[in-house]
Each structure stands twice: as structure tokens, then as C-alpha cells.
């Protein structure tokens, strides 16, 4: 019983922190090789440009033409977004299950200071709405600041930003990235402070960055580091392949990571893949190095413009003091009912070896946002 509780606890932690964001790297299927055309931030996610809103509406079940707005010239952009996630995790061996639901309310803002400078920030509340799990003890609502950055765009194709947000990744899918981060870099902040540059041309996408602590992590896990992404379009704005590098130090460990990613789109379908090899060495006298191989591969298919199905796989191989392997298989479907409402359903089967057994998680995510 104790083992099953531990397994359930791990499962719960893994699912309850599903990143409540919906990214659209799948738009590469239509030739959108980067995020800059549709998002205020070239890293993607968050507020949309005027054109991005047009695409957002056109890709929903209520597709229609929208009149031109003054969004690109308006000084202050904002929206309010509510993301609710309900999940049920089942440990197949012990036939036990746990349910949970979480929410985030986000006020997303962007203030244009002048033609080249912009302040973009998100304030939010995050918490559990139905703490039914036995392992979910007293989790309260907390204030979060997922993004607070200053953006400087000296010319088209170049942007510098400084502040606090998630580190850029090759594929940009929040949930797989959260899984990889928690598995290979536990305890660290989700939103490190960083300075980075985006350089994107017709063929190249470069994102070098330096980063420091986010302030919400254990002081011994506070990392300082440098990293970068380098991607190249190899086929008609529909195939971007690249590499990622990261090197960081903290009082407790040093971490190095090298990876590769690909975003491929072929009209109605495509492939997203991101895989990393990470080494994490303890700074203690008896230095111990743990190596991780982690990654995500997803095949997606847009049955309709507003209905995207996907089949994702994730792997995690740990080689250190202990050795383990875990694999996840995750079919899912995302439905854009309108520019205001997106719903996604995901099932995750996790195979964690004979000891930990197999688990299955069902999750439903509803994201509602205002559109001004």
C-alpha cells in the first residue's frame, strides 16, 4: 500500500502541474516557421498581434473574417485568461486512482513604450479547485508571475529581451517541456531571470541567452548559466531543425545539456521532436554525476482547422546512483471552439518499469480568454 501511495503521489505531481498553456508550434504545417508573425513575443505564447488574432479566429470552429483592429498601434494590450485542468491518474497495478483539478487565472499585459520598446508581463493566480487527492495537502492559491520582460526590437528580425519567463525551447510545447524539466532538473524555477536575443531570418532562428535564479527556488538550486538555440529552415518554411545547448552552475550542482529538435509540417500533419542529453554533477566532495536522456516526439494531424489530434511519446532514461527508464505515450486532441475557448483532451500512459508499474492519466483542459 505504501508503494502504491508513493506511485500515486509521483503521478499526481506529474499530472497536476500540467502547464496550463496551449502552444501552437503545429502551425508550421501552414508555413509559420516561427512565432513572431502571430505573437507579441517571438518566443511564442501570450498575447497575439493583430494578425495573430486573425489567424486565431480563422483557425477556430467559428472561423470568420475579422475587421482590422488597432492592436498593433495601440499602446496597451491585455487579455484575461482562465485555464482549468481536471485530471484522473490511475495506477494500473494497484487499481488505485486519484483525481485533481487546478486552475490558473492570468492577466496578460503588454505596454508599448515606443516603436522599439515594450514591457510585457503576466500576473496570475494558481491553485487547486478540488483537492481530492490524499497527497494534496493544503495547497493554497498562490500568486504567480510567469512573465515580466522588457522587449527591445531594433529592427525586424532582431529582438532583445530581459526579465523573467520560461527559457526558450526548440519545440515550445509547454507540457513535454515541463515533464523534461522536472525529470532532469528537479527543484529549479520554471521562470528564471534571463537576458536573451532572438535573431530570425528567412532561414535562421538563433536564440542565445544567459540566465539566473527566478527567486522562487531553494537557494542551493539557484542556477546561473548560458545557453542557446540555433535552428535552420531546411525546407520551404516547413522544416526547421536545430540544436540546443545549456551550461549552468548552482551551489548544489553543475548542469550541462545538449539537444536537438525538429519542427516539420506537411499541410494537415507534421512532426515535433525535441531530445536532450543532460549531465548533472553534484558539487559535493564525492561528486556524483547523473546523466539523463529525455525527449518528446509528437505526430499531429489537423482533421479540421479547429481540430488537431496528436500522438506524443516521451522518454526518460536516468543513469546515476540509480538507473531507471520511463516512457509515456500520450494521444490527445485539441479543439478550438472559438477565439475565446479551447478545449483539449489528453491521455497519458506511463511505463516506468516493473517496479513502478504502469499508470494512466486522463486530463481535460479548458482555456477561456477574453478577446478585445
Amino acid at each position: 500500500m505504501k508503494v502504491s501511495r508513493v506511485v500515486i503521489g509521483v503521478l499526481f505531481c506529474a499530472v497536476v502541474q500540467v502547464t496550463p498553456a496551449i502552444a501552437s508550434p503545429t502551425m508550421i504545417r501552414l508555413g509559420y516557421a516561427d512565432c513572431a508573425a502571430c505573437h507579441v513575443s517571438p518566443q511564442g505564447g501570450g498575447l497575439l498581434t493583430s494578425y495573430g488574432r486573425g489567424v486565431d479566429v480563422a483557425q477556430s470552429a467559428r472561423a470568420r473574417e475579422i475587421p482590422p483592429s488597432d492592436a498593433d498601434s495601440r499602446r496597451y494590450l491585455y487579455d484575461l485568461r482562465l485555464v482549468a485542468v481536471g485530471q484522473q491518474a490511475n495506477a494500473m497495478a494497484s487499481h488505485t486512482s486519484t483525481t485533481s483539478s487546478t486552475f490558473q487565472v492570468q492577466l496578460r499585459n503588454s505596454l508599448r513604450l515606443n516603436d522599439r520598446h515594450r514591457l510585457t508581463y503576466t500576473l496570475g493566480l494558481s491553485g487547486a479547485t478540488v483537492p481530492t487527492s490524499t497527497t494534496q495537502t493544503g495547497r493554497s492559491v498562490e500568486i504567480i508571475v510567469p512573465k515580466a520582460i522588457w522587449q527591445y526590437r531594433p529592427k525586424h528580425g532582431i529582438e532583445l529581451s530581459a526579465g523573467r519567463e520560461e527559457l526558450p525551447t526548440g519545440v515550445g510545447l509547454p507540457d513535454p517541456q515541463a515533464y523534461m524539466r522536472k525529470s532532469t532538473d528537479p527543484g529549479t524555477t520554471v521562470y528564471p531571470t534571463q537576458v536573451k536575443a532572438f535573431v530570425y531570418t528567412h532561414r535562421l532562428q538563433l536564440t542565445p541567452f544567459v540566465f539566473g535564479p527566478g527567486g522562487d527556488e531553494d537557494p542551493r538550486l539557484q542556477q546561473w548559466g548560458v545557453g542557446g538555440l540555433a535552428g535552420v529552415d531546411v525546407w520551404k518554411q516547413r522544416a526547421v531543425v536545430g540544436v540546443s545547448l545549456l551550461d549552468s552552475q548552482s551551489p548544489a550542482f553543475d548542469r550541462r545539456s545538449v539537444g536537438a529538435y525538429a519542427r516539420l509540417g506537411f499541410g494537415r500533419w507534421g512532426i515535433l521532436a525535441q531530445h536532450e542529453l543532460t549531465g548533472r554533477s553534484s558539487t559535493a566532495a564525492d561528486s556524483l554525476t547523473t546523466q539523463y536522456v529525455s525527449g518528446h516526439t509528437q505526430v499531429f494531424f489537423a482533421a479540421k482547422e479547429w481540430l488537431v489530434t496528436s500522438l506524443g511519446t516521451e522518454e526518460l532514461i536516468v543513469d546515476g546512483l540509480t538507473q531507471s527508464r520511463a516512457y509515456r505515450l500520450a494521444p490527445g486532441v485539441q479543439l478550438r471552439a472559438s477565439e475565446n475557448l479551447t478545449v483539449s483532451f489528453t491521455m497519458r500512459d506511463t511505463f516506468a518499469g516493473a517496479t513502478n508499474g504502469r499508470s494512466r492519466t486522463y486530463s481535460v483542459l479548458a482555456a477561456v480568454k477574453t478577446v478585445k
Binding site: 504545417r29 516561427d34 508573425a37 493583430s50 480563422a58 483557425q59 472561423a63 470568420r64 482547422e305
Partner: protein, 204 residues
Amino acid sequence: MTRVMKNNAIGAFAIALMIVAAAPAGASDAYKVSSGEVTVMCPLTVGGSFEAKTKNLSGDVTPATGEQGAARGALKVELQTLETGIGVRDRHMKDNYLEVAKGPEFATAIIDDIRVEKLEGKTIFTGMLSLHGQKRRVTGAAELQEKDGKIRVQAQFPVKVSEFEIPAPTYLGVGVRDEIQVKVSLLAVRAGGEAATGTSGQKR
């Protein structure tokens, strides 16, 4: 995203034409397009691009006698069938820019007066493209392969939207660059040859 796209299915035709013109020297019969696809690649002003595609490519071409590399006939594309993957964009492209409802010369893109330098392998071609009520000569690259009485053509040529008096496609601040690329892939068979020889495989 809509208006952005419209452009040029036109070029594709030209390609098809060239193909036909590439019929083996001395062939006197017409070649008919049995299958094909036209892809119009439209780069966006903010980076990225989209494609408008159609398989509605038809026509026939007859090598002109006594005129090396020239062909009579025409290839045409029904612009109403172009699709970009986003319905709203399709409507903008056809209604606001290609203006297909204005009449036959707007609804169809035609390429004729095709001339190729070589009838086999990689070559340069020219053709007269009729689009949006305008006629302009286009030039591009093509590759022709003949096998079993069929000619497979891959061709690509640039088209300047402004030269055809198409309004600059823009939508919500994002536009399509003036020069777009038209890519044509088609298979042409000798007209009447299939039934006679039974070798074409396309209509068995």
C-alpha cells in the same frame, strides 16, 4: 491571413505548358495533362510563407511543327480550386485579390505560347501567362522526363503579383511579398495514345 495569399496560381500553368512543349521532337500528336498539381508559394512580409495548392490543372499541348521548342495549346488552372489550408484565407484570396467572380479571364489562369530550350532534362522555358485579366510573359526552370509515352514535368517560375494588377495582398498588417513562386508538377500523356496502346496506366 486571408488577403495575404492570393497570388498566383498562374505560374503553374506555364510550367505545365512547357512540359507539353517538351514533347519528343518530331512528335506530331498533342499531349494532354492527365494529372498535375500547382503550388503557389507565397512568402509573408513578416517571415514565413504559405502555399496555395490545386490539382485542377488541365490542358493539352502540341509541339509546333517547324519551330524548335515551341508549342501550341494551353494549360489552365481553375483558381477557384486553390486552397491554402485556412478557409478564411482562401476566401480572401479568391474574392478580394484574384477576383475570380469577375469573369472567365479572372477565374482561370492560362499559360500558352510555351517555348523550351530542350525537350529532355533540365531546361529553361518561357510562356505567356494570363491571369487576373492580364497577360505577361513568364520565364522559369523546368525538368522534363519522358517515359513510356508520358512526359513528367517539374517546373518553377516567379511571378510578380503587381505585374498582373492584383492588389497587394495584406491582412491585418501582414502581407504577401510581391514576388511569389509557382511550382508545377504534371504528367502529360499522348492524346488518344492510352486507348490505342493501353500503356499509360492512368485510365485503365
